[in-house]
């Protein structure tokens, strides 16, 4: 097994009496792209800040690139590239000035060369004297990414880099991340877009501060142990109504003209669905459980835990 770029155990952070991050443990291998998924407000940003040494954990410990997250903050800062959720470079500085600043603060050996290379890679040479604040969302995000990798970090942590970016730019962004990972960079990237999970080697799913699933997408789906049935036919609305509180039925979600019905207990689910199918005349076919079904299931479960 390769070395771990991130290894944290039991990370906990409370604000007042609210536990925002609750005993989160995570291992990320070197060279891996780890997706950090979870709905808004589930604690992704807080967890990332704990890992970067930007917040003091209330409990738990861990190492990032082998450095203790409580004691070796300096070393973590020098070797990690962290792209914040909100654009946090200086809007009143030009693109070139921002990059010069970053190169200087990381004490790079050849700052001019590095800035010029970065500008070239970005294709922003001609606009280098434009204020960063005047860039569009997509360009800001590209600038931020370029600034974060300029000092050649060993670990890149991206907090919702694709939020509010159009699909084409999102795809380009992921291609860029994969290029970086091929060169040996470890990437932890948070997102609340479920479809982006497919682009990660492994994923961790967080809900209400708790890590509820971890692994490859296949593992996560398998571990959830869900059965998914597709109902189709004329009377699926009646079927949906009849299944609402039926035993074994945990999720009912319309997908186009059909209905996905999901449950943990295969037998109970089958019995309920078959009974309704007979009475309403809809057809039932088993299907692969999707990642989205799993996430919705996990979200519902951890909400139960909260109560």
């Amino acid at each position: 097994m390769s070395a771990l770029a991130i290894s944290v155990q039991g990370l906990t952070k409370r604000y007042g009496d609210k536990t925002v991050v609750d005993a989160v443990s995570m291992d990320v291998s070197e060279g891996e792209i780890m997706g950090f998924l979870g709905p808004n407000g589930s604690g992704k940003t807080t967890t990332i800040r704990l890992m970067c040494g930007l917040l003091e954990p209330d409990a738990g410990e861990g190492r990032v690139l082998g450095h203790d997250i409580r004691r070796d903050r300096g070393a973590i800062k020098r070797n990690v590239g962290y792209m914040t959720q909100r654009f946090s470079f200086y809007e009143d500085l030009t693109i070139a000035e921002n990059l010069n600043f970053v190169a200087g603060v990381y004490g790079m050996e050849q700052p001019r060369q590095a800035v010029r290379d970065t500008l070239e890679d970005l294709g922003l040479i001609s606009r280098k004297d434009q204020l960063a604040g005047s860039l569009s969302g997509g360009w800001k995000q590209r600038l931020a990414l370029a600034a974060c990798v300029m000092h050649r970090p060993k670990l890149l942590i991206l907090d919702e880099p694709t939020a509010g970016v159009d699909p084409k730019a999102r795809r380009d962004f992921w291609d860029e991340i994969h290029r970086l990972a091929v060169d040996g960079l470890t990437v932890l990237v948070s997102t609340h877009y479920m479809d982006e999970a497919e682009r990660c080697h492994r994923i961790s799913y967080i809900s209400y501060g708790r890590l509820v699933a971890q692994g490859t997408t296949e593992q996560v789906v398998r571990d959830a142990g869900l059965t998914t049935l597709v109902l189709s036919g004329e009377h699926i609305n009646d079927a949906a109504e009849a299944l609402r509180d039926a035993p074994g039925v945990e999720q009912i979600a319309p997908f186009g003209a059909s209905l996905h019905v999901v449950g943990r207990h295969k037998q109970t689910l089958m019995t309920s669905v078959n009974r309704v199918a007979q009475s309403t005349g809809v057809t039932v076919t088993p299907t692969e459980t999707s990642l989205e079904d799993v996430f919705i299931q996990l979200m519902g479960q951890s909400k139960d835990n909260m109560l």
Binding site: R49, C52, G53, L54, L55, E56, R73, G74, K77, R78, V80, Y82, T84, R86, F87, S88, F89, Y90, E91, D92, L93, E97, N100, F101, V102, A103, G104, V105, Y106, G107
Partner: protein, 377 residues
């Protein structure tokens, strides 16, 4: 590259800060505009050397000697006798109402005593509630008597009139301590520097927090001392420009004398401004928003104005207030700058003030570094 301090990192921080400062036109304009505006307003409103001040004359026998004295007083340009023939009671009422600032009393035996070469006395009472108003007029009195009698000597054959036998007795009333007019502008330098320096620096970190750039800055390898110096030094430079502007204007517009050594003056200003920007920085490590930073600045600013000796004579305050005043850098700076600039004191004489200001610098820097949050908590 050192873990704790690197000039390259500091240089990057300085460069970034000065670009932001340059681009923030409004703040930059205020940094230069406020001192000039305040200096002009305070300076001219206070008018260090007012002329033609209203006066009353109490002279029961208006002989030629009396008239000579009065003419001579008027020739100084300071006195305008709006009540040239008042009784003592009338004059008393006028000065207490504030209608006149001076009452000149020439006793009825004045002329006779001058002729007999006996000691003749004139009493001038001045309303010194606003000491700067009266002091110019008072300062010319030394020459008035001799001029008056020289003129009289030229006019008459009676040349035996002795110059030395006239004494002018002055009473500064209502405010016997009396500050000199030049107190104001050096004091103003301190107050202007204090307001702008503390306020601008107090925004330095809170602005980064409000704009969200603090998270990024903290995730980079800059150390607390580098961040502090990176914020403080550019403002120190702005302070330097302010000092040049205010001192230049003090000399050119108000003719304030620089009796003491310029290098001691500048050294004193440097330590003072350093303490101010670090104080501002300390505020910015405590305040969460720019609004809070502003409020804290004023919370500090107003009492320092009252207790430092800028508004009221320091030695005139009760002892407890004097002790309280010691906690403000402004107090020590005023002591220093007035001694050096106006009285020509040398560095050794004001060593205590230097030490106090240096102490503030160290103490405030220490507090700032302790207060600085290395995390976003």
């Amino acid at each position: 590259m050192s873990r704790h301090f690197s000039f390259r990192r500091l240089w990057a921080l300085l460069g970034k800060e000065s670009i932001q400062m340059r681009r923030d036109r409004l703040t930059f304009a205020m940094a230069l505009g406020i001192p000039l505006l305040q200096l002009m307003l305070f300076g001219f409103a206070i008018n260090t050397d007012p002329k033609e001040l209203p006066a009353a004359l109490v002279a029961p026998t208006q002989d030629r000697f009396t008239r000579a004295m009065v003419t001579s007083l008027e020739l100084t340009g300071y006195y305008r006798f709006i009540a040239p023939n008042a009784t003592a009671e009338e004059a008393e009422a006028m000065i207490s109402r504030g209608d006149v600032l001076f009452v000149v009393t020439v006793p009825s035996d004045f002329g006779r005593r001058v002729q007999r070469n006996e000691l003749a006395t004139i009493l001038i009472e001045a309303d010194a509630t606003d000491p700067s108003a009266a002091s110019g007029a008072m300062s010319t009195l030394g020459t008035v008597a001799s001029e008056a009698l020289q003129r009289e000597a030229g006019n008459t054959s009676d040349s035996s009139a002795g110059h030395n036998n006239i004494s002018i007795v002055t009473h500064r009333r209502y405010n016997p301590e009396g500050i000199t007019q030049y107190n104001i502008v050096p004091g103003l330098l301190g107050v202007i520097l204090q307001l702008t320096m503390v306020m601008m620096t107090a925004m330095a970190l809170t602005r980064e927090i409000e704009r969200g750039t603090m998270e990024n800055l903290l995730s980079m390898p800059a150390t607390p001392i580098e961040i502090m110096l990176g914020k403080v030094m550019p403002y120190l430079a702005v302070g330097g420009v302010q000092v040049i502007v205010v001192l230049g204007a003090a000399k050119a517009v108000f003719g304030i004398p620089f009796v003491g050594s310029l290098s001691v003056i500048l050294a004193g200003i440097f330590v003072f401004v350093l303490s101010l920007v670090i104080l501002g920085y300390l505020i910015s490590t405590v305040a969460r928003t720019q609004m809070q930073a502003m409020q804290m600045t004023f919370f500090f600013f107003l009492p320092s104005l009252l207790l430092s000796g800028f508004m009221f004579p320091y030695r005139g305050m009760p002892v407890w207030a004097q002790y309280l005043g010691e906690i403000f850098p402004l107090t020590h700076f005023l002591r220093l700058i007035r001694s050096v600039m106006l009285k020509g004191a040398d560095a050794a004489t004001v060593a205590d003030s230097f030490l106090a200001l240096g102490g503030f610098v160290l103490l405030l820097a220490l507090f700032s570094l302790l207060r600085f949050r290395k995390t976003l908590d």
